[in-house]
C-alpha cells in the first residue's frame, strides 16, 4: 500500500515536469511547426540563474522567481534572434537551426561557466512528508502540486484571456487568425514567453530534484518531453499533457519494477515505445480528428 502511494506521487511528480515541458514544446510547434531542440537549454539557463543568484546571497523566493522569468526572457530572445529570420522556412530547416542553437548553447555553457556540475541548494522542502500516514518524498510532492497548479493556471489563461484564445486560434489556423485581426508577432512572442516560463518552472523543479546544475542537464528531460509531445499528438495541447503524465508514470513504474541490471535501458525502452506509437498512429495518440497535413 505504501509503495503504491509513493509510486503514484513519484509518477505524478515526474509526469508533471514532463507535461510542462511537453506543453511548452507543443505550444510553439502548433503555431510555427518548429520543434525547438534548444528547449532543454532554457532549463539549464534557469539552473544557472538559480546557482548565481543563490551565490549572490539573494532570498530563495526571489531566486526562484528570477530563474523562471529568466527562462521566459531567454525564450523570447531565442525567437527574436534565431528563429524569426527563419519564420517561413520548411520543417527540416527549422529542425537544423534549433539543433545548431542547442549545441551552441551547450558548448557556451561548458566554455564560459564550467563543464562540471555545480551544486544548487534549495533545501527549504522537508525531505519526507506524511500523507494519510504514508511517507512521501517532499520534493516529488512539491513537484506534483506545482505542475498541477501551473497547468490549471495555464488552462485558464488559454481559455479565458484574449491573448490565450488568440494563441489557440493561431495554433489552429495561422492565416485565418491573422485575417481575424490577430497580430501574428504578438501571438508568437507570447507563446515563446509562455513556453519559456513553463521551461523555467520545470527547470526549478528539476534542479530541486538533482540539487545541481550542469551544461548538459537539459538534454535528457527535453528528449523525454519530445517523446511525450509526439506520443500525445503535437497539435493537441490536452493530449500532450496527458501523454506527459503517462510517460512519467511509465518511467516510474519501469524504475521501480525493472531488475537493477536492466534499469539503465529504461530510456531506450521509452524510445522504442515512441517509435511503436508513431507506427500505429503517426499523428499521435490524442491528436484532434481534423489534422492539417
Amino acid at each position: 500500500m505504501t509503495s503504491v502511494v509513493q509510486d503514484i506521487v513519484n509518477g505524478l511528480g515526474l509526469g508533471g515536469t514532463y507535461a510542462l515541458l511537453a506543453l511548452g514544446l507543443a505550444l510553439v510547434f502548433s503555431i510555427l511547426r518548429l520543434i525547438n531542440f534548444a528547449y532543454g537549454e532554457l532549463m539549464t539557463i534557469t539552473g544557472y540563474i538559480l546557482f548565481f543568484a543563490l551565490g549572490a546571497g539573494l532570498a530563495t523566493p526571489l531566486v526562484i522567481v528570477l530563474g523562471i522569468v529568466g527562462a521566459g526572457v531567454a525564450s523570447v530572445a531565442m525567437e527574436r534572434a534565431v528563429f524569426r529570420p527563419f519564420r517561413n522556412a520548411d520543417a527540416t530547416t527549422l529542425l537544423l537551426t534549433s539543433f545548431a542553437l542547442s549545441v551552441a548553447l551547450q558548448t557556451l555553457f561548458q566554455a564560459t561557466i564550467s563543464a562540471n556540475a555545480k551544486g544548487v541548494d534549495l533545501s527549504f522542502i522537508p525531505g519526507l512528508i506524511f500523507i494519510a500516514g504514508v511517507q512521501v518524498g517532499g520534493t516529488q510532492l512539491v513537484s506534483t502540486v506545482t505542475s498541477l497548479v501551473v497547468l490549471v493556471c495555464l488552462g485558464t489563461f488559454l481559455m479565458r484571456t484574449t491573448l490565450g484564445v488568440s494563441i489557440r486560434a493561431t495554433a489552429e489556423n495561422f492565416h485565418v487568425a491573422r485575417l481575424m485581426g490577430i497580430r501574428a508577432n504578438r501571438v508568437i512572442v507570447s507563446s515563446f514567453l509562455v513556453s519559456g516560463l513553463l521551461a523555467g518552472v520545470a527547470g526549478v523543479l528539476w534542479v530541486i530534484q538533482i540539487a545541481s546544475v550542469n551544461p548538459l542537464m537539459g538534454t535528457t528531460p527535453v528528449l523525454k518531453a519530445f517523446v511525450a509531445a509526439i506520443v500525445g499528438g503535437l497539435g493537441s495541447l490536452r493530449g500532450v499533457v496527458l501523454a506527459g503524465f503517462l510517460l512519467g508514470f511509465l518511467e516510474t513504474l519501469l524504475q521501480t519494477y525493472l531488475p537493477g541490471s536492466a534499469s539503465g535501458y529504461r530510456d531506450a525502452m521509452l524510445w522504442v515505445i515512441l517509435i511503436g506509437v508513431l507506427l500505429l498512429r503517426p499523428q499521435g495518440l490524442f491528436a484532434p480528428a481534423a489534422e492539417r497535413a
Binding site: 511547426r33 520543434i35 534565431v82 529570420p85 527563419f86 522556412a89 520543417a91 527540416t92 530547416t93 529542425l95 537544423l96 537551426t97 539543433f99 545548431a100 542553437l101 549545441v103 551552441a104 558548448t107 557556451l108 561548458q110 566554455a111 563543464a115 538534454t219 528528449l223 519530445f226 509526439i230 539503465g264 535501458y265 530510456d267 531506450a268 524510445w271 522504442v272 515512441l274 517509435i275 508513431l278 507506427l279 503517426p282
Partner: protein
C-alpha cells in the same frame, strides 16, 4: 538501368571527385599531418553515407552516427586480441569470448550487423511522415547510445574501450572514400536513386507514378547505414580507443554540417562540404587556446570548433539552403558554364540586337533537383 551518356558522365564525375579527394589528402599531409587527413577521409565516408539517405530522400536523419558507433564497437571487439580483451573487459560474456576474427572478418561482421539493424529500424522509419521520421532517427541515435553505455560487460560502458587494432591509415581511408563516392554517385543516377529523388520533390506525384516510396527509402536507409558502418570501422581502427560519447551529438552535428554546407543533394556537395568544414574545424581548433589576428584578440574558448560549427550551419542554412553544390554535380556545373560561354560566342546567323531565348537550352542538366 541508366542511359549511356549518364553512366559515362557519372563515371567522369566520380573520377573528378576522386581527384579532388587525392588532391585534398596530399594538401592535408603537407599542411597538417596524416592523422588529420585520415579523420578527414573518415568524415567524407560518414558524410557520403548520411547524404545517400538524407539527400536523396529529403528526410533529415540524426541516426547515422549510431551506425558508425555500432560498427566501430562490433569490429573493434571482434578483432581485438582475446588476451587484451579479457584484461580490459573483465565481465565479457563467455558466449562471445570465443569470437576472435581477423581484421576483415571483423569488418564483415560489423557491416552485416549494422545492415541487419538498419533493416529492422528502417522498416519502422520509412512508414513515418517526414517530421516523425526525423524524430525517429533521433530515437535510433538515443537507443543505440543508451545500449552502448549500459552494456558495460561488452563495451566498457561510458568509459573508453582500449586495445582496438590499429589497422587503418590514410591510404586505406582514401581507397574506402573513393569507393563510397563511386557507390553514392552510381546509386544516385540509377533508377532506384532517381525514383527516391522524385519522391523527395513530390511524394504524392511520385507515388502516383507507381514509385514504391517506402521501398526506395528503405533501400537508401540500409545502403547509407552500410556506408556509415564503413566510416565507423575506419574511425574505430584508426583511433584504437573510443567511447559511446564519440558517436553521439557532437559527431551528429559535425556530419550534418558537412552535408548541409556542401549541398545534401549531390555527392560533390558532400565532398566539398567536408573539405570546407574540416578546414574550418582545423583553424578553430588552433584558435581554441586563444589567438591574435592583428589587432583582434580572440580569448581562449573551450569547444570553439563545435561552437563555430553551429554558427556555420545556421549561416549556411540561412544564406544558401541548397548548399554550395546543391543544384548540380561538379562536372555539370563546370561543363554547363563552359557550354553557355561557347554557345554565346559561336552562333551562326545570330543577330546582335535579338534577345537571348527565354529558355536556356544550352546546358544539359541531367537529374537536377529543383530547389
Amino acid at each position: 538501368m541508366m542511359a549511356e551518356s549518364v553512366l559515362g558522365r557519372t563515371l567522369v564525375g566520380t573520377v573528378v571527385l576522386a581527384g579532388v579527394l587525392i588532391a585534398a589528402s596530399l594538401l592535408g599531409l603537407a599542411e597538417f599531418n596524416s592523422a588529420v587527413v585520415t579523420i578527414f577521409l573518415t568524415d567524407v565516408v560518414a558524410a557520403v553515407g548520411l547524404a545517400v539517405f538524407m539527400g536523396n530522400s529529403g528526410i533529415l536523419s540524426f541516426g547515422h552516427p549510431a551506425f558508425m558507433g555500432l560498427a566501430a564497437y562490433v569490429s573493434g571487439l571482434a578483432s581485438m586480441n582475446p588476451v587484451l580483451r579479457r584484461a580490459t573487459l573483465t565481465t565479457f560474456p563467455h558466449l562471445l569470448s570465443g569470437i576472435s576474427l581477423p581484421f576483415w572478418g571483423g569488418v564483415c561482421l560489423a557491416i552485416g550487423f549494422v545492415a541487419l539493424f538498419a533493416l529492422t529500424t528502417g522498416l519502422a522509419i520509412v512508414r513515418l511522415p517526414r517530421d516523425a521520421a526525423a524524430i525517429a532517427t533521433l530515437g535510433t541515435l538515443v537507443i543505440v547510445n543508451v545500449v552502448l553505455v549500459n552494456a558495460r560487460s561488452i563495451t566498457n560502458g561510458s568509459q573508453t574501450l582500449y586495445g582496438v587494432a590499429l589497422t587503418v591509415g590514410w591510404r586505406g581511408a582514401l581507397v574506402v572514400a573513393v569507393l563510397c563516392v563511386t557507390i553514392a554517385r552510381l546509386y544516385r543516377e540509377a533508377s532506384a536513386g532517381l525514383e527516391l529523388r522524385a519522391s523527395r520533390e513530390d511524394e504524392v506525384a511520385a507515388a502516383a507514378l507507381g514509385i514504391n516510396v517506402r521501398r526506395r527509402r528503405l533501400e537508401a536507409w540500409v545502403l547509407s547505414a552500410i556506408i556509415s558502418a564503413a566510416a565507423g570501422v575506419l574511425l574505430g581502427h584508426f583511433l584504437g580507443a573510443f567511447s559511446p560519447a564519440q558517436f553521439y551529438l557532437t559527431l551528429t552535428i559535425t556530419v550534418v554540417a558537412m552535408v548541409i554546407v556542401g549541398g545534401e543533394t549531390t555527392v560533390s556537395g558532400v565532398v566539398m562540404g567536408t573539405i570546407l568544414v574540416t578546414a574550418v574545424l582545423q583553424v578553430l581548433g588552433n584558435w581554441e587556446d586563444g589567438a591574435s589576428l592583428g589587432p583582434i584578440h580572440i580569448p581562449a574558448l573551450l569547444g570553439l570548433p563545435t561552437l563555430g560549427l553551429s554558427v556555420v550551419l545556421v549561416l549556411a542554412v540561412y544564406f544558401r539552403r541548397q548548399g554550395l553544390f546543391g543544384r548540380q554535380e561538379l562536372e555539370f556545373a563546370v561543363a554547363g558554364s563552359a557550354r553557355r560561354r561557347m554557345s554565346r560566342r559561336v552562333r551562326p546567323g545570330a543577330r546582335e540586337d535579338v534577345a537571348e531565348p527565354l529558355v536556356d537550352t544550352s546546358t544539359e542538366d541531367v537529374g537536377v533537383a529543383k530547389k
